[in-house]
Every structure is written in structure tokens, then in C-alpha cells.
């Protein structure tokens, strides 16, 4: 997703050390105006530290933070036009909802009437009309979340920073609030950075995702790119379940844009796409998502990329049936969606399965992390 505009926020070669510990090792990224970018990664990967550096709460060791063309890397939080919603919401417990939202405006010495109007407008933006006079302990967790959001939006920040904003909510509310945040963000078009450790949350809310591990960017891309074309095995395994299959390239046909890979299952034909160049003899890793494999009764052998195995276990989960199929000494996890309308197999059945040509492949040395 190339953007032609100049970016709203640019991170240039950011390093951060806590004493001897290198938390961030050269982060560079740019975020377009109005975009929602998610930082995702396992705990301790440095995503919150990176967010706090952008917000000005943690000084950086080296690098630049360019906000709308201006280097703000050395400014304190109160001097930069980024606003943060903390994981704990950080609502002031000694002020009511209205005062919390208006806090920044009051500091900016807005006249009282103007503050009141703006606060009303924000309350309605976050669906909290009429609750302005409540104290913080008398609104629910989801409402606290909205107040924190409204307070951060009050000053119309150039970049909104959200630090794991949904982690204090229970599972159902989390989905509701996730959609609501995305909805509000798209309506007012504020450039947003969202930090989460939950890859599904990241997938569902983002324009683009930045996957961070051990202080290094593993990949930046749209959710689709991250899922379908992961840059390495770490990302492939981090988002969703994946079967890894190793093989050696046997035949590369440049005209058909396919290669033939010899694997433990047998020979497999794979489309190369247009970017990946592999040569005969290279070792590759094939990324097989469980839901892309199709199961057939053992008699079907007329399809391409067909292999044989035996059902080792089956787990029925309503919307899908999860099979583990054994092929020699390898096991393959296969998800069969809508099992009601499909042929179901039982433990011990001999089956045939097909792997689509469009599976993603990684050159072997690409393993990082």
C-alpha cells in the first residue's frame, strides 16, 4: 500500500536502550494521514516502548520522530501534538466525565462556553450524551474507554496513540469497542497508532500492521499481506495456525510461473507469484494454512497436488471440523469449514487432500526472529 502523499508520521532509524538492554534496534516506518497502523508483537517486543517514544514519554536513544514534517523526537509530551490513550485509561478520578474531557482544553485556556460545546460534541461522538456529570467510578469499563478516547481527541491531535486500549475489557465488549474505535477513527479521519498483542484484534482493525519482535520490524503490510504473504516463519506462525512444509525446488518453469517442489508428501506444484525468484536446488518452506486444504475421500485422485493420508484425530467445533491427517511421519492440520454440508471423515479413515497452487513459499534462509 504505497502512499503518494507525504506521511503524517515518520520514524527514522529509532534505537532505544534501557541500560544494557537493546529494546528497539533501528525502527523505520511511515504512517499516512488518516491511516490506522497497528503495532503488534509478543510481550516484551518493544511495541509499547515505541509508542511511548512517539508520545514523548520515553526518550529515544537515537533516531528521529518526524510529525507532519517536524522533528519532535526531543520534545516533551506537552509540546507535541500527539495524544495518548493509556492502557489503564488514566482518567482523573477526582474529576467527572466532562472535566476529564475538557482538561486539555482548559489548559489551552479556551473560553468556558467553547469548552462546553466541544465537550458536548465529543460526548456525542463517543455515544455518551447525558453522562457528562457522572464521576469516573460510576461509569462502566467501556464508557471509561470512550471518555479516555474523547479526552485524547478533544485537542484534535495529529496522531492518536492507543496503548492496548481493549485489554481491560471482557471478551464481548472488546469486539464492540474495537469496532467502535475503528468507526470513530474513520469518521474523523485521525491518524492512529494502535498497540496490541492480540493478532486477531490487529487483523480486524488495521489499515496496516507493523509486526515487531525483539526490537526489529518483521514486516509492515496490510492484514491481507501479513496473513497471506508473511515475510518469514515467525509472522506466519504469529498470525493464525500454519503447517510448515519443507521442500527442494526440482523444476522451475519460467513461462508457467510455477515451480515443482519435492516434499515429504510428494511432488507439489506451486505458483511463484511474480516477486519470488527461486532456483532449482533451493530449499523452500511452504506455508499451508489449515483452511486452504481440501479433504476428499480416498478414491479421488484426479486433482492436482493430491496426496494421501489417514485421519488421526478429528475435533468438531460447529462452524468447522479440525482434522489432523498423518502422512508418513508428518502430521497436517486441516480445517473443514461448514462441516454440515461436507463429507465428514472419522478417525482412521483414509483420505485424499489437495493443496492449492497458490500457497505461499519462503526461501529457507529467510527465517529471522
Amino acid at each position: 500500500m504505497e502512499n503518494r502523499q507525504s506521511p503524517m508520521l515518520e520514524l527514522i532509524d529509532i534505537y532505544k536502550n534501557f541500560g544494557d538492554v537493546k529494546v528497539l534496534k533501528g525502527i523505520s516506518a511511515s504512517i499516512a494521514k488518516g491511516e490506522l497502523l497497528t503495532f503488534v508483537g509478543p510481550s516484551g517486543c518493544g511495541k509499547t516502548t515505541l509508542l511511548r517514544i512517539i508520545g514523548g514519554f520515553t526518550p529515544l536513544t537515537s533516531g528521529k520522530v518526524i510529525l507532519d514534517g517536524e522533528n519532535i523526537g526531543a520534545l516533551p509530551p506537552n509540546m507535541r501534538n500527539t495524544k495518548m490513550v493509556f492502557q489503564s485509561y488514566a482518567l482523573f478520578p477526582h474529576m467527572n466525565v466532562r472535566k476529564n474531557i475538557g482538561f486539555g482544553l482548559k489548559l489551552k485556556k479556551w473560553p468556558k462556553k467553547k469548552i462546553d460545546d466541544r465537550v458536548e460534541q465529543l460526548l456525542s461522538l463517543v455515544y455518551m450524551e447525558g453522562l457528562g456529570d457522572r464521576t469516573i467510578d460510576r461509569i462502566s469499563g467501556g464508557q471509561q474507554q470512550r471518555v479516555a478516547l474523547a479526552r485524547a481527541l478533544a485537542l484534535e491531535p495529529k496522531v492518536l496513540l492507543l496503548d492496548e486500549p481493549l485489554s481491560n475489557l471482557d471478551a464481548n465488549l472488546r469486539v464492540v469497542m474495537r469496532d467502535e474505535i475503528r468507526n470513530i477513527q474513520e469518521r474523523i479521519g485521525v491518524t492512529t497508532i494502535f498497540v496490541t498483542h492480540d493478532q486477531y484484534e490487529a487483523m480486524s482493525i488495521s489499515d496496516r500492521i507493523l509486526v515487531l519482535s525483539n526490537g526489529v520490524i518483521q514486516q509492515i503490510g496490510s492484514p491481507m499481506e501479513i496473513y497471506e504473504k508473511p515475510a518469514n516463519q515467525f509472522i506466519a506462525g504469529f498470525v493464525g495456525y500454519v503447517n510448515f512444509l519443507e521442500g527442494t525446488v526440482k523444476k522451475a518453469d519460467p513461462r508457467a510461473e510455477t515451480i515443482s517442489v519435492s516434499t515429504e508428501y510428494g511432488s507439489l506444484t506451486v505458483a511463484t507469484g511474480n516477486q519470488r525468484k527461486v532456483d532449482i536446488g533451493d530449499t523452500v518452506v511452504i506455508i499451508i494454512r489449515p483452511e486452504t486444504v481440501t479433504l476428499f475421500p480416498a478414491e479421488r485422485t484426479d486433482l492436482p497436488n493430491t496426496f494421501h493420508g489417514r485421519v488421526e484425530s478429528k475435533m468438531y467445533a460447529g462452524n468447522l471440523a479440525k482434522y489432523t491427517v498423518r502422512i508418513g511421519d508428518k502430521a497436517l492440520v486441516i480445517d473443514q469449514y461448514n462441516p454440515k454440508d461436507a463429507i465428514q471423515f472419522q478417525r482412521g479413515d483414509d483420505v485424499t487432500f489437495t493443496i492449492p497452487e497458490t500457497v505461499h513459499i519462503l526461501a529457507k534462509p529467510a527465517i529471522q526472529a
Binding site: R52, N78, L91, E164
Partner: protein, 561 residues
């Protein structure tokens, strides 16, 4: 055969006693402890109360009338309240500055400032009278050096000494509340554009308010109950605690002494209740996110400079005070004749006083720990009416000013059936019951950590109560026992306000000896004795710190002498 053997055991005398104890041990303890608390805590206080109403001609209000008619008396009350208020206000400000700097200030300052703010805990409060006299008294070396004509025996002197002595109390409370504030609240305010000064005003102080109030109340109570500093530095100014003492030693007027000490109780009791029942659990609960590594931010000079201007002089005074006490112990007269001598340190009377104090403190510590541990157990696990009353009785000794209990003891134990006056026991018992609260609280918090199911499980496995008590409860409570012992030992060592009523001529305790030598201007002897006392207290604190580290039971920060 087996049945016969069991039957034989069941009929044996030992078994009968054992099963009786098994059934009734907690209640037996409860009865004994009730009796002890009644005799050694309730009875003396009632004796004071009765004495304030009971003259030679029976019931009368004339003593109270006298109190409010003579300006000497009611000025004593006013002065005490003024002293309490001014110390309270100064210490909330100074304590806040110290706590802010040690929790949010530059890293290099945090540790040293914290140590200095806690340093006065290692010494009795009246050490600052001695150091201030050494520094700024008539012959004080700063007075001489700068040729000041400063009079330390004044309001300034008393307030300064009280502030230095009770800084740790205010600091610890405020530091605690500042540490517990969710840092993202202040960060959000900064994010919204607030300057540091604005954050302190709009966020930090309002959120810390309950803690600041608690600190203020505690400082107030401790200050008005303090005997040493106003007695030594008060000069001609009347204050309630020293006046009560003079009323007995000078005039032998037990009735007026009772009135004076009761007048002192009133604000203490009010504040004790406010603190324990009204303010308990007050504060703001905030959702806590994950702890993030917050690095210290550069403080803005608008905040940093005034905060340093407040804390640095206080820190310097504390260090200087400990310095001159140490120096005073080893030179002839600090600043006047700085020749090294060991006469003060090896002085026989000082050593006898220290030795007496150690003996008394050991006995009080041991007895106090036993009583405290048993009280804690009985309060937590007993099932009898009056448990709450028992707990309040046990904790009241700590809340009451030492003067009241001191007066109560001489009145109550001056005649049969409890004739104890003049013996070492009256001092020991006095300290046991004044400080037992800390042992009780330590024991209760220890028992809170262990589920009653542990005891039930032991019973389930076949243990009877005696076995459970010896094998399970005592080992678990052992750390509380040791903590109670050391704490009582340490506070008895430093205690002055109530033992001063109870010592007899010829039997000096270290604290009383320090007070008397300071009164007489024998600063060298006072300093030397204080140095020895500090050495003992520091060892005790080290032991308490080790207990706190090993078992999580921290009583080292209780202050009350």
C-alpha cells in the same frame, strides 16, 4: 486389645487434662489477656479519669474549672495545639517535597534524600533538642561562629526540633501514596499540555489528598504528645506534656496532672478515630495497566528549585544534627573546645543508664512479644463476645499519649492491690502495654496470610489443638513474635514521655538520663548516651529489616516513643 488400650488412655489423668486444655485453651488465653489488659491499660486510664473528678471531698469539677480559669493552664493547651498545627503544616509541605523528589525527582537524589528523610527514625525525637542546643544554643557553635544572638529556647527551637524528629512519619505516608498513584495519570496530564507545576496542582495533590491528610493527622498527634522537645527547648513556654510532669514532680498535684493529661487525650482520641475509622480505605482506586519502565523525566526548574530549597536545608539540618551528636560524644564541647576525649563515652553513670535500659527493654520486649502474639491469635481465631473490644483495648495503648499512661501508672500502682511504684516492673509493664499494639498488628497480619484451613487440615490429619498450637501456629507466628520483641525493645529503649513518671532517683534509664543531662546543659554526656542508644537502635532496625525482607512483615516504620 487395641480398644482396651485406647480406653486406658481415655481414662488417664493426663488425657483428661489434655482434652480440657484442647477445648478451652483459646478461651483460657482470652480470659487471662482480658484481665491483663484491664489491669494494665484500662485501670490506669480510669484512675486518671477518676482523679480528675475526685478530690479530697469527693466528686468535684473544680479541677477542670481551675484549668480553664488560670491562663497558665489554658495557655499550655493553646501552645500545644499551636505547636501541633504548625508542625503539621510544615511537615506536610516538607514531607511532600521529599516524597516528590524521591519518587519523581532526579535519580541521583532519590536514594540519598530517602535515607536522610528516614534517618530520624534511628534516634529518639529529643535528639534534635540536643543537636539544636549544640548548634544554636547560648554556647552553640553556629551562634558563636556567626555571632548570632539567636535564642533556641523558643517557639522556633521547639517547632524546628519537632519537625526534624517527625519528618519520617510524614515522609513515609506521603511517599507511600505518591508511589501508589498510577503514573499514567500524570503522563496523561502532560500529554494534554500541562506543565509540571500544573500537574502537581491539578493531579498529584488532589489524588494524594487522602494520604496528605492522614500524614497531617498523625504528625499532629505525635507532636502534641511528644514530651522531650518541648520540655527541653520550651523554656518558659507551657506545653501540656511537660506541664503534666512538672505538676507531679514539682507540685505533687495528681488531680491537676490528671486533668492536664486528659486534656491532651481529647485531640489524640478524636484523631485516632478519624484516622482508623473515617479515613480508612479512602482514596481513589484506579485501573492499573501493565507496569511500564518509566524513566525519570527532567524536572522543570519552576518545580525543582523551590522543592530543593525546601528539602536541602532540612536534609542538611538532619545530617548536621547526627554529626554534632557524634562529635559531641567524643570532644569536650563542640565548637568551643574540640579536643578529643573519651570521658563522655566511658562515663559510668551513662553506662549504668544504658545497661538499665537494656535490661528493662529486654524484659519488656520479651513479655510484650508473648502478650502481643497471644492477643493476635485470640483476636483472630477466638470465638467469644468482646473480641472487638479486646482489639481496641490492645491498640489503644499506642494511640494514647505516653504522659497519660505514665500518670495513670503512678496513680494506679501506688497502692495495694497492685503496689508497684519504685520497682522496675512498673516501667516494664508500662512499656509492654503501651507498645503491645505493634506486636498485635504484626501477629494479625501474619495470621491473615495463613488460611484457617491450614489449622483445619492439621485437625483433619488427627492433630489435637495443643499439637496444632505448638507445631503449626507457633512456628508461623514466630516472625511476628520476633518483630514484636525487637520493636518493643527498641521503642522502650527510646521511650521517655511515660517512663519519666515512673523512674526513681538512683535508677536512671538512658532516655531519662539523656533528658536530664540535656536539661543541665551536659551536652557531652547527653550526646554520648544518645550515640550508644542510636547504635543499639540501628542494630534493632537492621534485624527488623531482615525480618521484613524474609517474611514480608514490616514493623520497622512504626513510630511512637
Amino acid at each position: 486389645m487395641a480398644a482396651a488400650a485406647v480406653g486406658g488412655v481415655r481414662n488417664s489423668f493426663v488425657y483428661k487434662i489434655r482434652s480440657f486444655i484442647n477445648k478451652n485453651l483459646v478461651n483460657l488465653f482470652a480470659g487471662a489477656l482480658f484481665a491483663l489488659l484491664a489491669i494494665f491499660l484500662v485501670y490506669p486510664i480510669c484512675a486518671v479519669l477518676v482523679n480528675s473528678f475526685w478530690g479530697e471531698d469527693g466528686f468535684t469539677l473544680s479541677f477542670y474549672k481551675e484549668f480553664f480559669e488560670y491562663n497558665f493552664y489554658y495557655w499550655s493547651l493553646f501552645n500545644t495545639l499551636i505547636l501541633g498545627f504548625s508542625t503539621m503544616i510544615i511537615l506536610v509541605v516538607v514531607g511532600f517535597c521529599f516524597a516528590y523528589l524521591t519518587t519523581r525527582g532526579p535519580l541521583s537524589l532519590r536514594k540519598p534524600l530517602k535515607i536522610i528523610a528516614l534517618l530520624p527514625l534511628a534516634a529518639p525525637p529529643y535528639i534534635f533538642s540536643i543537636s539544636l542546643i549544640t548548634l544554636l544554643g547560648r554556647n552553640g557553635f553556629i551562634n558563636n561562629w556567626l555571632n548570632l544572638n539567636f535564642n533556641i529556647y523558643s517557639w522556633t527551637g521547639v517547632i524546628a526540633a519537632q519537625c526534624l524528629a517527625f519528618l519520617p512519619l510524614s515522609y513515609m505516608m506521603i511517599e507511600n501514596v505518591l508511589n501508589s498513584l498510577n503514573p499514567s495519570l500524570e503522563e496523561t496530564a502532560a500529554d494534554m499540555g500541562a506543565s509540571e507545576a500544573r500537574i502537581i496542582r491539578s493531579i498529584t495533590i488532589p489524588l494524594a489528598a487522602p494520604g496528605l491528610l492522614k500524614a497531617a493527622l498523625l504528625v499532629f498527634v505525635m507532636t502534641i504528645a511528644e514530651f522531650g522537645n518541648p520540655a527541653i527547648l520550651g523554656g518558659r513556654l507551657p506545653f501540656l506534656a511537660p506541664d503534666t510532669y512538672l505538676m507531679i514532680t514539682g507540685e505533687g498535684d495528681f488531680n491537676m496532672a490528671s486533668v492536664l493529661s486528659l486534656v491532651l487525650i481529647v485531640p489524640c482520641v478524636i484523631i485516632f478515630f478519624l484516622h482508623n475509622y473515617v479515613l480508612k480505605g479512602k482514596g481513589y482506586a484506579t485501573i492499573v495497566g501493565k507496569p511500564t519502565a518509566t524513566e525519570p523525566k527532567e524536572m522543570s526548574p519552576v518545580v525543582k528549585i523551590p522543592f530543593l530549597l525546601i528539602t536541602i536545608p532540612a536534609a542538611v539540618m538532619i545530617l548536621l544534627s547526627f554529626g554534632v551528636i557524634l562529635l559531641g560524644a567524643f570532644v569536650k564541647i563542640v565548637g568551643v573546645d574540640n579536643t578529643f576525649i573519651i570521658d563522655h563515652i566511658i562515663n559510668t553513670q551513662s553506662n549504668i543508664a544504658i545497661w538499665n535500659s537494656i535490661k528493662v527493654s529486654l524484659a519488656a520486649g520479651l513479655f510484650g512479644a508473648v502478650v502481643g502474639t497471644l492477643l493476635a491469635y485470640v483476636i483472630m481465631r477466638g470465638k467469644f463476645p468482646g473480641k472487638r473490644i479486646m482489639e481496641m483495648m490492645a491498640l489503644s495503648g499506642f494511640a494514647l499519649p505516653g504522659t497519660v499512661i505514665g500518670v495513670g501508672y503512678i496513680i494506679a500502682f501506688n497502692r495495694p492491690p497492685f503496689l508497684l511504684t519504685g520497682t522496675i516492673w512498673i516501667i516494664i509493664l508500662n512499656c509492654v502495654f503501651r507498645f503491645v499494639a505493634v506486636g498485635v498488628e504484626a501477629g494479625i497480619s501474619k495470621l491473615h496470610q495463613i488460611s484457617i484451613e491450614i489449622e483445619e487440615a492439621s485437625a483433619d490429619l488427627g492433630a489435637d489443638f495443643i499439637t496444632i498450637f505448638i507445631k503449626i501456629i507457633l512456628p508461623i507466628m514466630f516472625s511476628a513474635f520476633v518483630a514484636g520483641f525487637i520493636y518493643t525493645f527498641m521503642t522502650t529503649m527510646m521511650s521517655l514521655s511515660s517512663v519519666i513518671f515512673l523512674v526513681t532517683p538512683g535508677f536512671d534509664l538512658a532516655s531519662v538520663y539523656i533528658y536530664l543531662t540535656a536539661q543541665l546543659g551536659e551536652l557531652g554526656l547527653a550526646s554520648a548516651t544518645t550515640v550508644k542508644m542510636i547504635a543499639i537502635v540501628v542494630v534493632c532496625m537492621a534485624i527488623l529489616k531482615i525480618i521484613a525482607k524474609k517474611t514480608g512483615l514490616d514493623v520497622s516504620k512504626q513510630q511512637g516513643v
